[in-house]
């Protein structure tokens, strides 16, 4: 007994020495913090005007985007509830609060909740080592943040941010941006040093800092709810899809006033990395304060506008599955995105990919459901979208009211079938086993499966003549087909009856279908033909881009410019870093040509 006790005592001693790890060597940020609103007040206060980009290392694309920005755009329906994006939020005058979120059992810090400062939803900074979401996950205005301690500094990395702004005068940040915050604690102070890396709109990291003091009597504020029911009609006299912006060569009057009253040379006011270094003061001595208007007549800059020129779809064969919401999942990496709807009745697919990696697609589907594939809905007739029809349909079976039988039902608008059959005397572009088995001619086709209504809406003369979008009413998911491509400008197949105006009309209809939850985020989710899962705000950015390009091309046509002149003027310049391509099957030049030819023969969609 004594021997046993001595052993136990020795074990206790050993265990206590070994297991008693020192407390984590980190400081804490939790509490209420008051912002000190001294620095950069001309940008953070009410005096900020469009055209004052001083001190911001904008790329030429960033400058162009800022110069086309018209402040009345915030009055449009879809932008009234957009909160300050995380790239800007802490610059406001609002106080903030850090709240520790700990695991109740282990006591370990799981996350910080950062609250206040005019950002819509609370930010969560994950401290538990979890990875960032996949490239296909939705983005938000707060992004996705993880943190790690380095000495007295919490280093926070944020990705998955929506298109936003750096300041409230239209200086943009893109959805490809990444932000690092160094939250440094000194005594009862926090200094938040923020670096924004944006391959599209910045040519160097943008650094700035915001200082906070511990506020023992204060309370963070500046949040709440902004939901669709709070949106009001402010632009009643404007046509549907109206997007306020400044055409190249026109200038916001606020900029003129700014340049004149403060003697700021235009070149310096436009921002840029070189303007932020001491050497630029020598340059300032040589410049005169000119108010010449901005021009894109001979734009200079990288071929894609921003710094990024490659396209973004995943490599074919890198098949990945992402849950969208409800019963809907998305398979990427097999050509066009495939939506997978699962439930007790079976599997419904929207599109089937290119058909080059169907084995992987079927394996991915089997990860989601072991039920038979009942339906394949085709939003169009492109090889990237229907290439897997034959092989996948063969593995499925039909049942119920449509009769028993082998093979899934393939549904598309009749225009798809006609385009596949080809014209008289011409070989069909795709073999008949890949063709739809059921087609519809009118505006709408309904399917009810897995306890959910699924609707296909025909979009005439959009990317091609037979386009449809699919709407899962209970899951609240829209599948766009080729009209929305988050990785490039929309493909317009003019040979198959596609028109730019039809694409724009389709996107405006999609915006009508989608409803954000609050803060212009979430709610109805969108599966584009390529790229990440989106929502209404992303559709609005895409629509606004197309509308601005349309207005520029239309303006050029009115001035009598030829296609070559319009292409040389690069009306898509600041968007090329997001959607442009200089090679491949769908280049920027081809897109501009499609826009030009469409607008040359018909009035714009806004007329």
């Amino acid at each position: 007994m004594h021997r046993v006790f001595r052993f136990a005592a020795a074990f206790l001693f050993f265990a206590a020495v070994v297991s008693g790890r020192p407390a984590l060597a980190q400081v804490d940020l939790s509490g209420e913090w008051g912002v000190t609103f001294f620095e950069d007040i001309l940008h953070r206060g009410a005096t900020l005007v469009p055209g004052d980009n001083t001190g911001v290392p904008l790329s030429e694309a960033g400058r162009r985007k800022a110069e086309s920005w018209d402040e009345s755009v915030v009055a449009t329906h879809e932008r009234q509830c957009i909160p300050h994006p995380v790239t800007y939020a802490v610059r406001g005058p609002g106080n903030i609060r850090f709240v520790k979120i700990v695991d109740q059992e282990s006591g370990r810090l799981v996350a910080y909740s950062l609250q206040g400062s005019y950002v819509g939803r609370f930010r969560t900074i994950w401290m538990d080592g979890r990875p960032h979401p996949s490239d296909f996950a939705p983005h938000s205005y707060t992004g996705f943040s993880t943190g790690t301690w380095i000495r007295n500094t919490l280093v926070v990395t944020t990705t998955h941010m929506k298109m936003g702004y750096l300041d409230r005068n239209g200086m943009p940040s893109s959805e490809l941006a990444r932000m690092t915050e160094h939250l440094i604690r000194h005594d009862d102070r926090i200094t938040a040093v923020t670096f924004i890396h944006d391959p599209v709109f910045l040519s160097e990291p943008f650094v700035r800092s915001t200082d906070f003091v511990l506020n023992l009597t204060g309370n963070a504020g500046a949040w709440g709810v902004c939901a669709p029911d709070q949106i009001v009609d402010e632009l009643l006299d404007k046509p549907k899809g109206y997007v306020p912006h400044h055409l190249p060569g026109t200038v916001d009057p606020g900029r003129e006033l700014f340049l004149t009253s403060r003697h700021v040379p235009l070149e310096a006011a436009r921002g840029g990395a070189d303007t932020t270094y001491p050497e630029y003061r020598r340059r300032l001595r040589d410049l005169s304060a000119t108010t010449a208007s901005n021009s894109v007549g001979n734009p200079e800059g990288p071929a894609c506008g921003g710094n990024r020129c490659e396209q973004r779809p995943p490599a074919e064969g890198d098949v990945r599955v992402e849950h969208v919401q409800g019963r809907v999942h998305m398979i990427a990496g097999a050509g066009g995105n495939i939506a997978v709807h699962v439930g007790e009745d079976g599997v419904l697919l929207v599109n089937s990919g290119s058909g080059k990696v169907t084995d992987k697609v079927l394996a991915a589907i089997r990860q989601l459901s072991d039920k038979p594939i009942r339906f394949i809905l085709n939003t169009g007739g492109d090889a990237d979208d229907i290439g897997g029809n034959e092989a996948i349909a063969k593995t499925g079976s039909r049942s119920g009211g449509r009769g028993q039988g082998a093979g899934a039902v393939v549904i598309a608008h009749d225009g798809v079938l006609q385009s596949l059959i080809g014209s008289e005397g011409r070989e069909p572009s795709v073999p008949s086993p890949s063709w739809p088995t059921i087609t519809f001619i009118g505006d709408l086709k309904d399917v009810y499966t897995n306890g959910e209504a699924v609707q296909m809406f025909h979009q005439p003369a959009a990317h091609a003549t037979g386009d449809s979008v699919a709407f899962f009413r209970a899951s609240d998911v829209v599948v766009t087909g080729e009209v929305v491509d988050m990785t490039r400008y929309p493909l317009i197949d003019t040979a198959q009856g596609g028109t730019f105006s039809g694409v724009l009309a389709a996107i405006n209809r999609l915006i009508d279908l989608t409803v954000p939850k609050d803060w212009q985020e979430g709610g109805t989710l969108v599966v584009p033909i390529r790229g990440r899962i989106a929502d209404e705000a992303d559709l609005v950015e895409y629509r606004d881009m197309l509308t601005i390009v349309r207005d520029r091309v239309e303006d050029s046509i009115k001035k009598g410019m030829t296609l070559e002149q319009v292409q040389a003027a690069r009306p898509t310049f600041e968007y090329d870093g997001l959607y442009g391509a200089v090679s491949g099957p769908w280049t920027t030049a081809m897109f501009v040509e499609a826009v030009y030819r469409d607008l040359s023969r018909s009035p714009s969609a806004s007329q």
């Binding site: 020495v17 400081v27 004052d52 440094i184």
Partner: protein
């Protein structure tokens, strides 16, 4: 419970306590960042090297000469504003090194060279203004200077956060001290400028700074948080944080003394700009939109506007005048709009929404108009509006008495838009 059992429990408790004691001793023997008395050897972070400022904040006030009265964001008290408004842009050369004092020199666009003067003293040299700051870790306090200087006397320490209180319910040993910043407190300052346009700090100011080195991707950054407390000119502490990027060497070092003429060229260039503006003949009319040139205008009061436009529109034989004025408060700005319509007949015309104010206009000659303002029938302002520079410049000189009884005068220069 039997007595042996109690003894065993007591023994077990004492064993655990002994173990924790042993462990805490062991923990205490672990290396700490500041166990040595030698500040240089104890440095938790290396701040030495060449650093270039990246001017991404307050660009307008740092890269260009701000106009008189631009103290936006600086929490000046009334005395501070009064002194700031006395600054004369035409006498900048006499400012000497005032804009390069310790409270402001980190905000001046330029480069820093940080090195160890000796084991107890960190040295910062600036190429802009050629200033030298010595940061004393003060093992020899008797070396303090008694004569105020632009760089004052700086006391330095490594900012390491100390654990406080007990070890917590987990009976874990205390956390090691963490941190890595340099903390500097500077006193004994000679009065200087927070901004080059005469925004003052006094010799009573106390400056607290934190220097942090950050790694962002492959680039090393230095962030300097500057906190100025000045009971004479500030209503509360003034906080800024300034960023520097590390450079490989001193090849870009551009030494310029604080009285180098190039420091005032930005303002001169800016002034010359509008003077170079082409004048178009025949525009000797008020009609049009005019923008205030802050650099050429002077005010006797301590609340000059930060922006003002005046628009004249033809109204019959007279004119409609619309004035929009933006003033910057400490952290908010306010824009006001005043409109009136008057003939050039010397008669009083009401200013709407002004509690009984009127205005009378009279043409003196082809380029000059006299304006008389009255409040409740009593004259309270006389102004002259004069066109020059071929009709491109409008100068409005006004004198009057404010509603609080104080006299004021101003000369405002506007450029035609």
């Amino acid at each position: 419970m039997t007595s042996p059992c109690r003894r065993r429990i007591a023994l077990a408790v004492s064993i655990v306590c002994s173990a924790l004691l042993v462990q805490s001793r062991l923990a205490a023997q672990r290396p700490s960042p500041a166990v040595t008395d030698n500040p240089r050897a104890a440095a938790p972070v290396d701040l030495t090297g060449y650093w270039v400022s990246v001017v991404s904040e307050d660009w307008l006030q740092r890269m260009l000469m701000p106009p008189r009265g631009d103290y936006a964001g600086v929490p000046l008290n009334p005395e501070g504003r009064r002194v700031a408004n006395l600054w004369d842009p035409d006498k900048q050369a006499a400012d000497g090194c005032r804009p390069f004092g310790a409270a402001a020199v980190m905000r001046v666009p330029g480069r820093l060279h940080i090195s160890w003067e000796n084991d107890d003293t960190l040295r910062i040299d600036t190429d802009a203004g050629l200033q030298t700051r010595l940061l004393h870790f003060d093992r020899q306090p008797a070396t303090r200077s008694s004569k105020p200087a632009f760089q004052g006397y700086s006391l330095a320490s490594w900012d390491l956060l100390q654990p406080r209180g007990g070890t917590g319910a987990g009976l874990a040993p205390p956390a090691p001290r963490v941190g890595g910043a340099l903390k500097v407190v500077t006193t004994n300052l000679r009065e200087g400028y927070l901004r080059r346009n005469g925004v003052p700090y006094s010799g009573d100011a106390v400056l607290t700074e934190y220097f942090d080195r950050l790694t962002e991707e492959d680039t090393e950054w230095l962030t300097v948080v500057t906190i100025v407390n000045d009971p004479k000119y500030l209503s509360q502490e003034f906080v800024t944080s300034t960023h520097f990027k590390r450079e490989a060497d001193g090849s870009k070092w551009m030494p310029r003394a604080c009285d180098d003429p190039s420091f005032i060229e930005a303002r001169s260039t800016a002034t010359a700009t509008s003077e170079r503006k082409p004048a178009s003949a025949g525009e000797s009319t008020l009609i049009g939109r005019w923008t205030l040139d802050l650099f050429k205008s002077t005010y006797s009061t301590n609340d000059p506007p930060i922006r003002r436009t005046v628009t004249f529109e033809a109204a019959g034989d007279g004119v409609k005048q619309t004035t929009e004025t933006t003033r910057q408060g400490f952290n908010v700005s306010e824009t006001t709009r005043v409109e009136f319509t008057a003939q050039f007949d010397g008669k009083d015309y009401p200013i709407p929404n002004s509690n009984g104010a009127t205005v009378a206009l009279k043409r003196v000659n082809a380029t000059t108009i006299e304006r008389i303002g009255k409040l409740s029938g009593k004259q309270n302002e006389t102004a002259t509006m004069r066109l020059s520079n071929g009709g491109q410049t409008l100068t409005i000189t006004a004198k009057g008495t404010a509603t609080n009884g104080a006299n004021y005068s101003r000369t405002e220069v506007f450029e035609r838009q």
